[in-house]
């Protein structure tokens, strides 16, 4: 095989062989607005000038805000030991070092990560990780279709809207159907997945369901009736997929305990910085019976010919580079460094430490709930939550913007995240973790009280039209 670059004739022959007119046709699925059209770079600068330019750009980020934003990515404290150990060259810069002959250390770290996630989720098999919670959820949905040979899944509206969008992107390409399970509108279970509606959705004999996907806690922070939902799913021959938040698993029942077949989740809470929305960590786990359906890499423990313990990548023949279009996934990579960070974080905290993180977050959230209610923003839903919940705030989007001006990031305006639900138009999704302080909660509540009581509006009006318009 020649290793020179393609000639024009090479390209023409390849295009003819696959029946495509031009290379651009292969990218037809990418919206025109997102396609690259050349790079317009400014002239080169010295390292010092460029550093200054980048620092000015970075200064535009509001990193000093007191944060109550969760919605899938959470502020946590990461012990310094994690960041320090990650910098080791063997970890930081190694690219896919998986040959067992020379990578026993790397393979062992992945095996430890898999073992830790198995403990947290209460399931038997864990993959070496995926890009993020959204893709892990989509892969779990695809797994349920493959395993049951059915073509339809049911996804609760309590699953993160981004995860549902990603799932639909995956399903669109595969001609599979993803239908929504509505949430209860009123009463003590308002905001949680509607089990009665789920039961009705499961009864269509023409369209059997492969998997039922519910998050616990939900996107709205609420605890869901997982055992009940699992029972309904299994009664209809469907698999039960649970979308989880790993820190919560230290205090909540695990997917294995409430009968989930597959668990998917976002591992960012485990020692991975918020950064700019990534890189994050997709967690995927399943029961033993589904081990040959789980996508991604798997590291296993075995013995070498001298009887010594050894680690290897296992079930390799199932991966995309060998199984091709019949593989479990088009993706056969993982987030090794992020998975390693998660393992180090868990090792540094230990099971008691992780429980403390979850419990402290819950305690702070209870404090936050009382403070916000007293300030005029009561909870939207009545049911139990762990450390995240929605509050009713008239003019939520505008109040949120003004609070940012006062140095407070008041969670997420739900109208932005879930625009098709008018009952969420005047709501903010707020969250507290172990790093939230009572002072921060007091500052948030005080500022919110001023905004809601109109005194802030009065001040602005008194200051003149230019200021009032801000």
């Amino acid at each position: 095989m020649a290793y020179g670059p393609h000639t024009t004739e090479d390209r023409a022959r390849m295009l003819a062989a696959i029946g495509v007119d031009s290379v651009d046709d292969l990218f037809a699925d990418i919206p025109a607005s997102l396609r690259a059209s050349g790079l317009q770079l400014p002239p080169p600068e010295s390292e010092a000038e460029l550093s200054t330019r980048l620092r000015d750009l970075a200064d535009r980020n509001r990193v000093e805000l007191i944060g109550f934003l969760g919605a899938g990515a959470y502020r946590h404290f990461t012990p310094a030991v994690v960041d320090q150990l990650l910098l080791r060259g063997e970890f930081y810069t190694a690219y896919t070092p998986y040959q067992p002959e020379i990578s026993q250390g790397t393979l062992q770290t992945i095996y430890e990560y898999q073992s830790l996630m198995a403990e947290l989720t209460g399931l038997d098999v864990v993959s070496a990780s995926h890009y993020d919670g959204a893709t892990a959820t989509a892969e779990a949905a695809l797994m349920s279709c493959r395993a049951t040979r059915r073509e339809r899944v049911l996804v609760s509206r309590g699953v993160h809207p981004h995860y549902r969008e990603t799932l639909c992107t995956y399903f669109g390409g595969a001609s599979l159907a993803a239908d929504e399970i509505p949430l209860v509108a009123e009463g003590p279970a308002a905001g949680t997945t509607d089990a009665a509606a789920l039961e009705r959705l499961l009864t269509d004999p023409e369209r059997p369901v492969a998997g039922v996907i519910v998050a616990n806690p939900s996107f709205f922070g609420l605890l869901e009736p997982m055992s009940e939902i699992g029972r309904l799913a299994h009664a209809a021959g469907a698999l039960f997929v649970s979308v989880v938040e790993p820190v919560s698993l230290a205090v909540l029942a695990s997917p294995g305990e409430y009968g989930a077949d597959i668990a998917a989740g976002e591992g960012q809470s485990l020692g991975i910085p918020l950064a700019y929305g990534g890189p994050y960590l997709g967690i995927l786990a399943c029961r033993e019976a589904l081990v040959r359906q789980i996508p991604g890499r798997l590291v296993g423990m075995t013995t070498d010919i001298d009887g010594r313990r050894a680690f290897v990548m296992t079930l390799r023949a199932r991966e995309q580079d060998i199984r091709r279009e019949k593989a479990a996934s088009n993706i056969c990579t993982n987030q090794a460094l992020c998975a390693l960070a998660a393992s180090m974080y868990l090792a540094a905290l230990g099971p008691h430490g992780l429980r403390d993180v979850a419990a402290l977050g819950a305690a702070r959230a209870a404090e936050l709930e009382m403070a916000l209610a007293a300030a005029g923003a009561p909870r939207l839903h009545p049911g139990p939550y762990l450390n995240e919940f929605a509050v009713r705030v008239p003019g939520a989007a505008a109040v949120h913007a003004r609070l940012v001006g006062r140095g407070i990031l008041a969670g997420l305006p739900l109208a932005r995240a879930v625009p098709d639900d008018s009952s969420l138009a005047d709501a903010l999704l707020v969250c507290a973790t172990e790093v939230t302080t009572s002072e921060e909660i007091a500052a948030f509540a005080a500022a919110l009280r001023e905004e809601l009581s109109g005194s802030a509006a009065d001040e602005r009006a008194a200051a003149g039209p230019e200021v009032a318009a801000r």
Binding site: R292, A317, R318, I322, R323, K326
Partner: protein
């Protein structure tokens, strides 16, 4: 030379018929090409299969290969030994390594399969 009393498919399955039952396996040629077989994914008993549809998976250390139904009908039995001894496909491809039994819906489908001579010719060209 493969056993003369069996019929074969282009995908290297063999078939032995007794009445309306067809016993199915893969040839020793196929097993050798695959290498050490580590897992066999079997269809459920009771499942209706159509001729030449994929009905199972045979996994070796280096490849994962589909198993195709040589005939249409109902799966009435699968070889339970394969769960613990998948290597039977390598060691006893035509005997103890049988994979499943189908009650044939249309026994005339057998006539469309290769005989031993035709199968031998196929693999010698490969």
């Amino acid at each position: 030379m493969v056993p003369g009393d069996l019929r074969y498919t282009k995908e290297h399955e063999w078939v032995r018929t007794e009445g309306d039952l067809a016993t199915v396996g893969i040839t020793d040629y196929a097993a050798e090409q695959l290498g050490d077989i580590v897992f066999v994914e079997l269809p459920e008993v009771g499942r209706t299969v159509t001729q030449f549809a994929p009905i199972g998976v045979i996994e070796s250390v280096k490849a994962v290969s589909d198993l195709f139904a040589p005939l249409g009908g109902e799966v009435v039995e699968t070889n339970a030994e394969l769960a613990t001894a998948p290597e039977l496909l390598n060691s006893e491809a035509f005997g103890g390594g049988w994979i499943l039994r189908i009650r044939m819906a249309d026994p005339t489908q057998i006539d469309g399969l290769l005989d031993a001579a035709a199968y031998d010719a196929l693999i010698s060209e490969a």
